[in-house]
């Protein structure tokens, strides 16, 4: 057995108050979310973090919505926790055991805000994909990085 961490962590400091950082992250989610990253068949019209419904989702140009998961915590301007209900090939994840979580915290640092993002329980995805035999297949995980670099260009 190797001790492999099942989370990724990223930090970024933004020149804004925690209130503004949280506001842009959530209510203006659509302004910064990478357009290429969607799961619906239709082109994405809007990406939404919706605290009223406690869900986050995409809305297609045809009006269809595709759920990305629940909002587990919505605590402005400190914390946001989201379910990641998206499978390896950018499709909706239907296996309830294969859902990871994204935890975002906003910490004031002088006039700026440190935003820390942890995407955790990634092992839940790999286990599900391994069970499906998707690992090593054409549409499976090994293609992920390539698709990613293609998308980011």
């Amino acid at each position: 057995m190797q001790a492999t961490d099942s989370a990724v962590r990223r930090e970024i400091t933004v020149n804004a108050t925690p209130e503004r950082a949280f506001y842009v992250f959530t209510e203006q989610f659509d302004t910064w979310w990478p357009r290429s990253h969607k799961i619906g068949e239709a082109d994405m019209a809007k990406a939404v973090i919706d605290p009223d419904a406690m869900r986050w989702y995409e809305v297609g140009v045809d009006g269809s919505t595709c759920d990305w998961g629940a909002i587990l915590a919505y605590d402005p301007p400190r914390r946001l926790t989201l379910e990641w209900r998206i499978g390896g090939t950018w499709v909706i994840e239907t296996d309830p055991a294969a859902i990871s979580e994204i935890d975002v915290t906003f910490t004031p640092e002088g006039d700026a805000t440190r935003v820390t993002l942890e995407h955790r329980h990634l092992d839940r995805h790999t286990e599900a994909e391994a069970l499906r035999g998707a690992v090593g297949s054409e549409g499976g995980w090994p293609g992920l990085l390539k698709r990613y670099s293609d998308a980011v260009g």
Partner: protein, 101 residues
């Protein structure tokens, strides 16, 4: 632990990784197929193993290397790069002056 994206940043390691995606392979076969020496292949495999991308197993007298199906190195690398990209876009959105309406 070696970050998976760093591990795959090296073109030779990327080539080894892509070769292993086609199926389990021994060090000697990798060295024969790629323009690298056998010791260099072993060194690259060690890095890939540490990053959780590759595992090895003994088959008779041979040692075969393959992608680690339970390893989440590649997935971590993927999301690490994805969030780096997304958070950079987020920072730009936060710091762009907005006319408050």
């Amino acid at each position: 632990m070696t970050n998976g994206m760093d591990a795959l940043g090296d073109p030779t390691r990327r080539a080894i990784f892509e070769r292993l995606a086609k199926g389990p392979t021994a060090v000697g076969e990798l060295a024969a197929e790629l323009p690298v020496s056998r010791p260099a292949v072993s060194q690259h495999l060690k890095v890939l193993k540490q990053a959780g991308l590759v595992m090895d197993r003994a088959e008779g007298t041979r040692r075969l290397y393959q992608l680690d199906p339970r390893g989440i190195g590649e997935l971590r690398a993927y999301f690490d790069a994805f969030w780096m990209h997304a958070l950079a876009a987020f920072k730009q959105a936060v710091e762009t002056p907005q006319p408050e309406g």
